[in-house]
């Protein structure tokens, strides 16, 4: 007895491929026709890739590296990363911990967005102990929290906690964008607690560069008080749209055309989905912080003048005397490198190194070039200037090399 089975119905994708293959002999007479047939083939591949796109979106995870939440202050978390491959403290060559301080307008997991594009992993691999402040979204009642509350409150308490838990007297402070400016402010007030300062696309001199943000927030056309009064905490949609409109054609057209071109490449798809998830994960910023930063920083440029008020203090960057590593992007449209470069003459340090790569603001954290060249070098730079963990050999400090200044 034989069992009859229904003939398999070819999928739409297979049928389309068969049709394309059938047309090839006719198109062979014309290179232009062949090129258009290839284009049709690619279109078919793209249509067939949509289930993979949906799967990539569904399976997206925010953090690539496991971590412990050490302490929380309301929604704000202090986290400590574990070695990704099951390694523990034995992997740590340096006793001086790194505390990463991110900007207040986005989530910090862009520094740990994918296993092969993780700044956190670069430092873990380099033998460092990595901690991070995850600011999270402020609560509605937090709109009166000032920059002073963040720098002298949260950052200071977290620094003390890291030092207590690691039994160290100093740590390395690492700040990205606005977080870099806040880290520099903190270091100027507590230099004794900071061994090295790493700044990543951090703005200091807003009189330089011709970024659109500076134009838009000009005092003549932008009333920061009115915005804060109306919103309280400045909403993420407002911030997100502002960033989006800095490059409207690239962000709203060219990006999606590029996506359509490359969506069949699984690695590209994974990276694209990760970045899109992060870019759209804006969080509100406390109204008072926004006002302080826009008024005293962007509009009046008081940081370089030594008159930026932070609670009862005026920030004097000359008080920073520790080694400083300034990492900048040459094509940064958000924080033009001209706004970051002056840090070498604004601080009191004698050991200041600047490194730049050809990328944009976010490319500093996620581009392949940055992970190939810049981050291993940054981990090494920091290693040369950090305390060696007990039981590890090597020079605890090394004199700055000429090659560090690029």
């Amino acid at each position: 007895m034989t069992s009859s089975t229904a003939p398999a119905v070819p999928s739409l994708d297979a049928s389309f491929r068969a049709w394309i293959d059938g047309m090839r002999p006719f198109a062979a007479v014309s290179p232009v026709a062949s090129a258009w047939l290839d284009e049709w083939q690619k279109a078919g591949d793209r249509a067939a890739a949509w289930p993979k796109v949906i799967e990539a979106v569904k399976s997206r995870k925010a953090w690539a590296t496991p971590y412990d939440v050490v302490v929380t202050e309301g929604p704000i978390r202090l986290i400590r990363f574990r070695a990704p491959e099951g390694g523990q403290a034995s992997n740590r060559r340096y006793a001086t911990p790194i505390l990463m301080v991110f900007a207040l307008v986005n989530r910090p997991y862009v520094l740990d967005i994918l296993p092969h594009k993780s700044v956190v992993r670069q430092f873990l691999k380099g033998g460092h102990d990595v901690w991070m402040i995850d600011w999270a979204a402020p609560e509605p009642g937090d709109h009166t929290k000032t920059l002073h509350d963040y720098v002298e409150g949260h950052i200071h308490r977290f620094v003390e906690r890291v030092l207590r838990d690691t039994k160290q007297t100093q740590l390395n402070l690492f700040g990205y964008c606005m977080g870099g400016t806040m880290s520099a402010m903190y270091t100027s007030l507590h230099q004794k607690l900071v061994r090295n300062l790493v700044l990543l696309a951090a703005p200091f001199d807003w009189s330089r560069g011709d970024g659109l943000l500076k134009t838009w927030t000009d005092e003549r056309s932008f009333d920061v008080d009115a915005v804060v009064e109306a919103f309280g905490n400045v909403p993420p949609a407002f911030l997100g749209q502002s960033f989006n409109m800095l490059k409207p054609i690239d962000n709203n057209l060219r990006k999606w055309l590029g996506f359509a071109e490359k969506m069949t490449d699984e690695k590209f798809l994974q990276e694209f989905v990760a970045m899109e998830s992060w870019v759209n994960d804006n969080i509100p910023i406390s109204g008072a912080v926004y006002r302080d930063f826009v008024r005293y920083g962007i509009q009046r440029n008081q940081l370089v003048k030594g008159t930026f008020p932070l609670g009862p203090n005026l920030i004097d960057l000359k008080q920073i005397t520790c080694p400083v590593l300034n990492l900048v992007a040459e094509n940064d449209h958000l924080v033009p490198r001209e706004q970051s470069d002056p840090i070498d003459r604004l601080v009191g340090s004698t050991d200041v190194s600047t490194r730049s790569i050809k990328s944009g603001h976010i490319g500093l954290a996620v581009s392949g070039k940055a992970h190939l060249e810049m981050w291993p070098a940054a981990a090494e730079w920091l290693g040369h200037r950090s305390e060696i963990a007990p039981g590890e050999s090597g020079a605890a400090t090394a004199a700055p090399r000429d090659s560090d200044r690029t």
Binding site: P66, P84, P140, H143, F222, P248, D250
Partner: protein, 212 residues
């Protein structure tokens, strides 16, 4: 005496945009020029009728996908530079200011309306405060409440774990060398964001939590 020609033409920005776009696209297209004008020159350089010359692509007059891509890119470049130029112009900044003012005024009026409505509900109540102040106070209290709740939950967990540890140790003889694990102080998370008790089970695919 007025000179009509001194008036700027309102169409100038539009015309200059299209002029620049076409110029850029022409450069991006191959040497033959724009699509449809590539011609069908035979290898010997003589002009020929499309499809009838030997060794000549009969569809050579059509643009290739690559050519269209390059032209698209040139057009987007023009749009990008034009939009950046516009977003820096005084006209845009004036419009932005007016939009802001209008949006903020609308929000202010809405709040005022809500406040009046709320005041009307409790009219005569001397304790009624302006809407914004009430909202701020409530938001502050809510934040404080949620923090206190989280702290109480944390303390309850710690007490429970202390009590369960003590209960386990009690029946044992004093001589036995039991090593009780210290209670956790903070939760730990794996990469997926799932919370597990610190010192507890190993995270799937990850390492056991470190002591901190």
């Amino acid at each position: 005496m007025s000179t009509p020609h001194a008036q700027p033409n309102p169409m100038d920005p539009m015309l200059s945009f299209w002029k620049e776009a076409w110029a850029r696209m022409a450069v991006a297209a191959p040497a033959g020029g724009m699509p449809g004008t590539a011609g069908t020159a035979a290898p010997d350089g003589t002009a020929s009728i499309p499809g009838f010359a030997p060794g000549v692509d009969p569809l050579g007059w059509m643009p290739t996908p690559d050519m269209l891509r390059r032209m698209q890119s040139a057009f987007l470049d023009t749009m990008a530079s034009a939009s950046e130029q516009y977003m820096r112009s005084p006209q845009f900044l004036d419009q932005m200011k007016q939009s802001f003012d209008a949006a903020l005024e609308m929000r202010r009026q809405m709040e005022e309306m809500v406040r009046r409505g709320a005041t009307g509900l409790v009219s005569g109540d001397p304790l009624t405060t302006p809407g914004q102040v009430s909202a701020d106070l409530l938001a502050g209290l809510r934040g404080m409440e949620s923090r206190l709740n989280a702290r109480l939950d944390d303390l309850a967990t710690r007490i429970a774990s202390l009590e369960s540890g003590a209960a386990r140790e009690q029946p044992r003889p004093v001589s036995s060398a039991s090593t009780s694990q210290s209670p956790s102080q903070a939760p730990s998370q794996d990469g997926a964001g799932t919370t597990t008790p610190k010192g507890g089970s190993r995270a799937p695919g990850g390492a056991s939590p470190t002591k901190s």
